[in-house]
């Protein structure tokens, strides 16, 4: 979204979006300048048009495609292309389709792919792949800085001339400040007026214009000018806007910058420097110490140490050798390797993370609805208050210039923008920070829900544990039984078999091996008949009683060894659960019913609900929900139902196809859960503090500006403008300050 300044803009754009037939839901964020819209049977063009009609604009990208189609086919082609998700409009020229598209949901490469699927051969003929949000944020910062510089350059002489008795010259030097630097506010105010609403721009524009035009009027009658008020007002508010634009552009670029980097590509054995956005699948790139992995790929040659914190949250470098996969955005710490590129552009893991982050950034916390309702009436109330103040002081017998002074101060001191920025700024910062640690927030609202969670339910295998079994305890009745068992199990492919097979490194020859799926194995080792399997399997094949354990070894149909297996806890899980226990009710829900379930309960000191089928896990979550909000931490695919049922679903997944996983938040290991919990609490706290500041600021400053305590305390319009501008700067910086 282009042109949104204030909370009222958000309301206006939301209304415009919702007014389009078929738009089901529209979420607009001021901080990220983005909107996400859920539609049914709507052409994107209508949505964009609605926004433009409201006086705002949507950032779009253009691409020209060379298509292999006859002239007569073009018009039917156009209809087809316009139906592709993400395409705004299509026009055509000489064998070229000019497509205007939403760069957030579509890329030229994807467009070509989609066309190919329709049976149309197309290729991109021009158009650069710059990152739209970075460009937009930078452009806004540049424009604000330019306006600010002009404002400062002309405000200084304006004040000097005004106070040394050259009112006419002061009026002249204030023109660029009022009508170039201040144009952004006048334009915003005009747009608001056209939409029959008001916003921060209305206040600033009205205040500065009243001061400026009253000066003209006063000068014409041989009186004083008050252009310093107008000039300072514009300058001070611009300072705030510039700081805000700077912080925004930094927040946007910090993650996105990772996406584009320089790559060293091998072309016919020579090293060529290219931008990572130009890489194609199948390219070979060189990785050296200090460089950034430019795309997803597999190491073809060499060995490197990489910091994969973006993926895993773990800063400790890991070693990667031939055949191992790397994700783009990881940092190469040392070593040298050749990388075979397997995914580029929009399909890389990093791009998926960024897409999720963008979605999450537009999230609106429920509290924002209240804030928006307040913001919507805020400016009209201030306008009315200002008029009331003017009337009041005039009635008290003050001259018009003095009464105007109070009225302008009221306009300049009220700061609706702090209200609008309070929530989104805090969410934006959190989501970005979390992404840098390998935690992908798919739903920004989940951050607020998470802060209220009372019960944390963990899945066991693969979530708390690595999902790899190992032998924990052995009771060998017949000496050598474990070696025989290991020899037989080495031939099996069952996951538990690997644990037994690794219990003894010496292996013997096995004859007549036979596998009974889900039960056990049989084989002849050194003249003995050996059976390894579950206790129930063993009981069917021996007359002697078998103790309860995980695996039984029979030799010549008599119990020879009993084995207890265990899964290994993931690194850091114990510490994480200990920390969570301090403020939450922690439950482990597992499908296991045997010794493994009891073991984890003892190991972590938590309640275990054992022997649950997937839908019983859902039932457990439902039951706990009656007592308070529940977070479910589990596998993104197997536990999808429970993740959806919980108030917050946290998927622990190691894959790189984010879209595949259920859950509001996706991370690599539950070890990072306390960090996530702290981040969620911090976000909510920041939002509260920001809102408290914004409301407190306005309710304190507006009465003072109105002259409530006059003549003891009063605020001149320039000071009011400075305070207003600092209020939004404060909210912005406070959201970013994390320590």
């Amino acid at each position: 979204m282009v042109g949104m300044h204030c909370a009222t803009c958000v309301v206006t754009v939301s209304k415009a979006l919702s007014s389009v037939d078929g738009v089901k839901k529209a979420q607009v964020s001021l901080a990220s300048g983005q909107a996400s819209v859920i539609t049914e049977g709507v052409r994107l063009k209508d949505v964009v048009d609605a926004v433009r009609k409201a006086g705002y604009d949507v950032l779009v990208a253009n691409v020209a495609l060379r298509v292999d189609a006859g002239r007569e086919e073009l018009s039917s082609l156009r209809k087809k292309v316009e139906e592709i998700d993400g395409v705004v409009s299509v026009s055509f020229g000489d064998g070229v389709l000019k497509v205007m598209y939403n760069p957030y949901s579509l890329s030229p490469d994807q467009l070509v792919q989609q066309l190919k699927a329709m049976g149309i051969r197309a290729s991109v003929s021009e158009g650069k792949s710059e990152l739209p949000e970075v460009e937009a944020a930078r452009a806004e910062l540049r424009s604000m800085m330019m306006r600010l510089l002009v404002a400062i350059a002309f405000t200084v002489p304006t004040i000097a001339l005004e106070f040394s008795g050259f009112p006419l010259y002061a009026l002249l030097t204030s023109v660029p400040v009022q009508f170039y630097s201040g144009l952004t506010f006048h334009r915003g105010a005009w747009r608001a007026l056209k939409n029959r609403t008001t916003n921060m721009d209305t206040l600033v524009s009205l205040a500065s214009n009243v001061a400026w035009f009253y000066s003209v009027f006063s000068l014409a009658q041989g009186g004083q000018v008050y252009v310093d008020t107008a000039a300072l007002l514009v300058t001070f508010v611009l300072i705030g806007k510039t700081v805000e634009a700077y912080v925004k552009s930094r927040a946007v670029t910090s993650v996105v910058r990772l996406q584009v980097s320089e790559a060293v590509k091998l072309v016919d054995g020579k090293e060529v420097k290219v931008s990572s956005s130009e890489l194609k699948v199948g390219d070979m790139v060189i990785l050296r110490a200090g460089s950034q992995v430019p795309a997803d790929g597999v190491i073809d040659e060499g060995q490197i140490w990489v910091d994969e914190s973006l993926l895993t949250g773990e800063v400790k470098p890991v070693v990667k050798g031939v055949g191992e996969a790397l994700v783009g955005g990881s940092k190469v710490i040392s070593g040298y390797a050749k990388l075979y590129v397997t995914r580029t552009g929009e399909s890389t893991y990093l791009a998926q993370v960024l897409n999720a982050v963008r979605e999450a950034q537009t999230a609106r916390l429920p509290v924002q609805d209240t804030v928006d309702r307040v913001a919507a009436v805020f400016t009209p109330v201030i306008l009315a208050a200002s008029a009331g103040v003017l009337a009041f002081w005039l009635l008290r017998g003050f001259p018009l210039s003095a009464a105007l002074f109070f009225a302008v101060a009221v306009l300049a001191s009220a700061c609706p923008c702090a209200l609008g920025l309070a929530t989104p700024m805090a969410v934006l910062t959190s989501v970005t920070e979390l992404a840098k640690r390998g935690i992908t927030v798919k739903d920004g609202e989940a951050l607020q829900r998470l802060s209220k969670v009372r019960h944390v339910v963990f899945d066991k295998t693969g979530t708390l544990t690595e999902g790899r079994f190992e032998v924990r305890k052995v009771k060998e009745i017949v000496p050598g039984a474990m070696q025989a068992a290991a020899s037989v199990e080495a031939l099996s492919s069952h996951p538990l078999a690997a644990a037994i097979a690794s219990a003894s490194s010496a292996k013997e020859k096995v004859e007549g091996f036979m596998e009974f799926p889900g039960e056990g194995v049989y084989g002849k080792v050194g003249g003995h008949e050996v059976v390894v399997g579950s206790p129930s399997f063993a009981r069917k094949n021996t007359d002697e009683s078998v103790e309860e354990c995980d695996v039984v070894v029979l030799m010549d149909w008599k119990p020879a060894a009993l084995v207890w297996l265990g899964d290994k806890l993931r690194e850091g899980v114990k510490e994480a659960v200990d920390e969570l226990k301090a403020g939450h009710h922690v439950v482990v829900a597992t499908g296991d019913s045997g010794t493994g379930a009891r073991w984890i309960g003892k190991e972590l000191g938590v309640e275990v609900v054992a022997g649950l089928l997937p839908d019983q896990k859902v039932e457990l979550v439902k039951k706990l929900k009656e007592d308070g909000p529940v977070a479910f931490v589990g596998d993104g695919i197997n536990d999808a139902q429970a993740l959806k049922e919980a108030d917050v679903g946290i998927a622990i997944s190691t894959g790189t196809e984010l879209a595949k996983y259920a859950g509001d938040i996706i991370m690599r290991s539950p070890a990072h859960l306390p960090y996530l919990m702290r981040a969620s609490k911090l976000t909510v706290r920041k939002v509260r503090e920001n809102l408290a500041w914004a409301f407190g600021y306005n309710s304190a400053l507006v009465p003072l500006a109105a002259g409530l305590l006059y003549p003891a305390v009063y605020i001149s319009p320039p000071v009011a403008a400075l305070a207003m501008s600092m209020s939004s700067v404060f909210v912005t910086l406070w959201s970013v300050a994390r320590k």
Partner: protein, 57 residues
């Protein structure tokens, strides 16, 4: 080599995945159903021989 399914009496190949080890002897089945039936009550089938079952094969 083909053998008899102890539950339904059908001829089955020894290569089948449906098999059980009971009292040190391997039994082969035509289907999961027969294997389940045998595992639940092996002695009955070993004593009485194959039954013609409904819904098995």
């Amino acid at each position: 080599m083909s053998v008899l399914d102890p539950v339904c009496g059908m001829k089955v190949e020894e290569t089948t995945a449906y098999r059980s080890l009971y009292r040190g002897k391997v039994y082969y089945f035509c289907s999961q159903n027969c294997k389940k039936e045998f595992d639940a009550n092996p002695d009955k089938y070993l004593r009485e021989g194959p039954h013609v079952m409904k819904g098995c094969c």
